[in-house]
């Protein structure tokens, strides 16, 4: 790739810089501003330096929420990526089945996030929900409003239901791009299904899987509306993920300083992990071919 060097290209990027600056840089600077000041009211503010950061870092509820968040995002990646790839492999390659499957798969992605929560309340409630009634009917006591484990299972199920399709769509796109000749060659060589997957399909999906892992990590790490509607962060604090806790601090208690400091730390964590993922996956790609 030898693209010509041309700094005039900046003029083409300018609209994006303006739009994104308005929605990103100005608010972000406001957050930075809050994070180092104690605000009593209009015109009454005191510079407090790193006090809020120290406060926030020693907050045990925050640390709990953080571990909960890492566990959640880890599980999401472990379940959704293999499942999504598996389903993509099972999809038909042509025929009427393709558009039908694609549309059905994409449907959960297009439902507003709080409606996702609503759907799963209706679906899992022990009194009116299909899932709740069936599971309880089998003799297993299940109530996501009372038992933390049940709440976790429900949130995980909801998350997998909601987002695995995204992984599938991306993986399917990657598979579609592999020329048929590769498979013919593999067949002639007598390659097993597994060998075909490992040496042809998986390497060819590297790019789309990079996107899938990045997007799934970011979005699951930032999850808010779905568990908030479904469990409200409970029972207790068992499903209080980072965003839910942040909104509690910022809007519920109106502690702007700590909330801002918390926000910045949150942002940094996401940034760091996404960067590491990005680098790692790019490196894997260049080594394999």
């Amino acid at each position: 790739m030898n693209k010509p060097w041309n700094n005039k290209a900046w003029f083409l990027v300018l609209p994006v810089v303006i739009v994104v600056s308005f929605s990103a840089i100005i608010p972000l600077m406001t957050v930075v501003n809050y994070s180092v000041q104690d605000i009593f009211g209009p015109g009454q503010r005191v510079f407090v330096g790193t006090e809020w950061f120290k406060d926030v870092l020693s907050d045990s509820r925050l640390r709990d929420a953080l571990w909960r968040q890492f566990t959640f995002s880890g599980l999401v990646l472990l379940i959704e990526i293999p499942l999504g790839v598996l389903i993509a492999l099972a999809m038909p390659k042509r025929g009427i089945g393709v558009p039908v499957t694609l549309v059905l798969l994409a449907l959960p992605l297009l439902i507003p996030w709080n409606v996702i929560g609503t759907i799963w309340i209706i679906f899992t409630r022990p009194d009116i929900g299909l899932f709740g009634v069936i599971v309880n009917g089998l003799g297993v006591a299940f109530d996501h409003t009372a038992a933390p484990l049940d709440a976790w299972i429900t949130v995980m199920l909801m998350e997998v239901w909601h987002w695995t399709s995204l992984v599938t769509l991306l993986a399917y796109a990657g598979l579609q791009a592999i020329p048929e000749a590769y498979f013919q060659a593999a067949r002639i060589d007598g390659a097993s299904t597994w060998a075909t997957f490992w040496y042809i399909q998986l390497p060819k999906m590297r790019g789309v899987l990079t996107i899938a892992i990045l997007l799934r990590f970011m979005d699951s790490f930032l999850i808010y509306a779905e568990p908030f509607v479904l469990t409200g962060g409970g029972p207790g604090n068992s499903t209080t993920f980072l965003s839910i806790y942040l909104v509690k601090v910022a809007v519920g208690q109106f502690d702007l300083g700590p909330a801002a400091a918390f926000s910045l730390i949150y942002f940094m964590i996401v940034l760091l992990f996404s960067y590491l993922f990005y680098q790692a996956l790019m490196r894997v790609g260049t080594r394999d071919g």
Binding site: V16, I111, P112, F123, I128
Partner: protein, 267 residues
């Protein structure tokens, strides 16, 4: 089509995927008393009363109109801003280009919850609270970077010789871009529009924070009504079903491009 284990597995998965949606549909066709009274796998006595209520009450249906207005605005703004930028990224190297690209992506990673209060203050200062454009602009935060990313992939799939030939033929950049290049990547534009629509349609936290009544999204109407009237499960389910409809329509239009779309991508 050959019936084999894979197809059966896929069919079962799709069935499970549709189950929660079916359940909501089932609920939406029953009255609240019926839902709480008897457990039934299908509506024995289907009624459209819940839907009629939504279409007659402007507090309900205006929510849908508001959502569609700001989502459309956002899609147009995102595309217009992202098209030239994506072209720049795919065709030229310039000072700070890779950093710029990663910076754009970082905005996709910013927790929306972080931006709630600053957004509210910023838009208040400009008198934009409770307008459609406020939500449309706020959603640019994550949609513009995504649009640049997707479009860049599509554009890099088009050979640069086409540009060079056009310039030799005396096309100016804007004329080449509009008459030659845009038609070439129309699939990419469709796919990008779809993703912008999708992410703007499903977002609620920012949309709810920046609106009061005039531009209130449907999803917010739902949460409000739940707390105000107690829980009318039937009505809530009907409103939920209606939020799926626009998405289902849009996806049907781009169905052929979704999968093909990504495949052309650079990544």
């Amino acid at each position: 089509m050959r019936i084999n284990k894979r197809s059966i597995g896929l069919a079962i998965y799709l069935g499970l995927l549709m189950l929660p949606i079916y359940w909501m549909l089932n609920m939406s066709l029953r009255t609240n008393a019926d839902i709480l009274g008897v457990f039934s796998l299908y509506p024995k006595d289907p009624t459209f009363a819940n839907y009629v209520k939504i279409f007659k009450d402007s507090a309900w249906y205006s929510g849908y109109i508001n959502s569609i207005i700001y989502v459309s605005m956002n899609t147009v703004i995102s595309l217009l801003a992202a098209l030239p930028a994506a072209y720049a990224f795919s065709r030229y190297r310039f000072m700070g280009d890779t950093h710029m690209f990663f910076w754009l992506l970082t905005n996709r990673m910013a927790p929306a919850a972080v931006f709630l209060l600053p957004f509210f203050q910023l838009y208040s200062t400009f008198g934009l609270i409770d307008t459609h454009i406020a939500v449309a602009l706020a959603h640019c935060l994550f949609n513009v970077p995504l649009a640049v990313w997707i479009l860049e992939g599509f554009m890099s799939g088009v050979s640069r010789e086409i540009d060079e030939t056009a310039y030799i033929d005396g096309y100016s950049l804007p004329r080449f871009f509009l008459t030659v290049f845009v038609p070439l990547i129309r699939t990419g534009i469709g796919v990008t529009a779809f993703f912008c629509f999708m992410f703007s349609w499903v977002e609620l936290l920012l949309a709810r924070t920046l609106t009061v009544t005039n531009a209130k999204p449907i999803a917010a109407t739902m949460t409000r009504t739940v707390s105000a009237t107690g829980l009318d499960w039937g009505l809530l389910a009907a409103a939920g079903v209606l939020t799926i409809v626009p998405g289902a329509l849009v996806i049907w239009f781009v169905r052929d491009y979704i999968a093909k779309g990504f495949a052309l991508g650079r990544v």
